[in-house]
Amino acid sequence: MITTDICIIGAGPVGLFSVFEAGLLKMRCHLIDALPQVGGQLSEIYPKKPIYDIPGFPEVKAQELVDNLMEQIRPFNPTFTLGERVERLKQMEDGSFILYTSDATEIHAKVVVIAGGLGCFEPRKPELPQLEKFEKRGVEYMVKDPEKFRNKRIVLAGGGDSALDWTLFLANVAERVTLVHRSESFRGAPDSAEKVVELAKEGKIDLVLNAQLTGLEGEDHLKAITLSTSGQSQRIEADYLIPLFGLSPKLGPIADWNLNIDKNAVEVNTFDYSTNIPGIYAIGDINTYPGKLKLILCGFHEAALMCQSAFKYVYPDQKLSFKYTTVNGVNAF
């Protein structure tokens, strides 16, 4: 088990800067992020976009800001669990916490800081009656093990890159692949789209355009899907339906931790950005309070105040005396 003072969920800019503020107060941090790299949405979504509202930087590219933050927190030796999602959290009798990730990593921490930003990106689901009933019984939102689909009848839905790529891949694995798309053309990579259209012409796959999924049939397992093509209804027998409608940010397992939630954000006290559970804080884009602004610089401020308050859980017997870095410098661990 990993042991630390503060476990930070989310390694975006605000999570990273928390390590610095915690380090000044001699508190050690461990960061967990569902993405395989640090930086959160800055690195994942817009690494090359310039940001103009970081104090002291008239312009800084998103990835540069992340790289600078990593440099800034280096003296405090933070540790990382990347590519894993925190699933569960248990509060111990002494008030400390154990966090369990999707890959069964366990982290023991005195304080938990949720800096989860937009949340976790989860597959966007089509609105179909009985969808939940068929999840894992024929409805899959990602292709983890292509072998599962060998010699099966597969229906994929969507028009983006992943729908096109998996259609091309599964065409060689499955007994039959049908791609259902709502419009007439694809916005995914043009050469993948061309290949898909070619395969359909050769009769190797079925392409159903201008179509919307309308229903699922089956008892214990999916047997068929129904769809409507310009008003006409159609039924396709299938062992699996793979809807690939991209990812949408959701709060994820955090929603089940008995925290006060308002419109997908964690409610906090602006005194110290604490949640309703003592020892758990929420900072950055994932929290909400009257006047909340989703800005990186606001998240930095929240991180600083949070650490002043978290100190009492990490060092219950010590009195905190505030020191400036200009006076004291940065004392590495």
Binding site: G159, R182, S248
Partner: protein, 106 residues
């Protein structure tokens, strides 16, 4: 000021008035008017929680850019008149438009 109508999830139509000269987006106005628009991504065409359908007035809008079209194309409930409110500036082109909320407001 620009006047347009919003059809909420219950199918009720409400008149909305917004200033055309403040550089606001339709998403910002909807959010400020307390419609259930999460705008999780803050206006970067990433989350589609501000997905709307223009039942009237689509033809007067500037064309959607690639980022917006790519995102709309991934939505299971997209229709031909789908747009992302965060990518639409409040302006005279919205006068008398009728906008149905389609985003995931949970």
């Amino acid at each position: 000021m620009v006047q347009f109508s919003v059809i909420d999830e219950q199918g009720m139509t409400h008149p909305v008035e917004a200033p055309a000269d403040m550089g606001l987006s339709l998403m910002e106005i909807l959010k400020a008017s307390d419609y259930p628009v999460l705008a999780t991504c803050g206006g970067m065409a990433l989350c589609a929680t501000c997905h709307v359908e223009f039942t009237e007035g689509l033809e007067r809008l500037p064309e959607a850019n690639d980022a917006e079209l790519d995102m709309i194309d991934t939505l299971p409930n997209a229709v031909n008149a789908s747009r992302l409110a965060c990518q639409i500036r409040i302006g005279e082109h919205l006068q008398n438009a009728v906008i149905r909320l389609r985003g995931d407001g949970n």
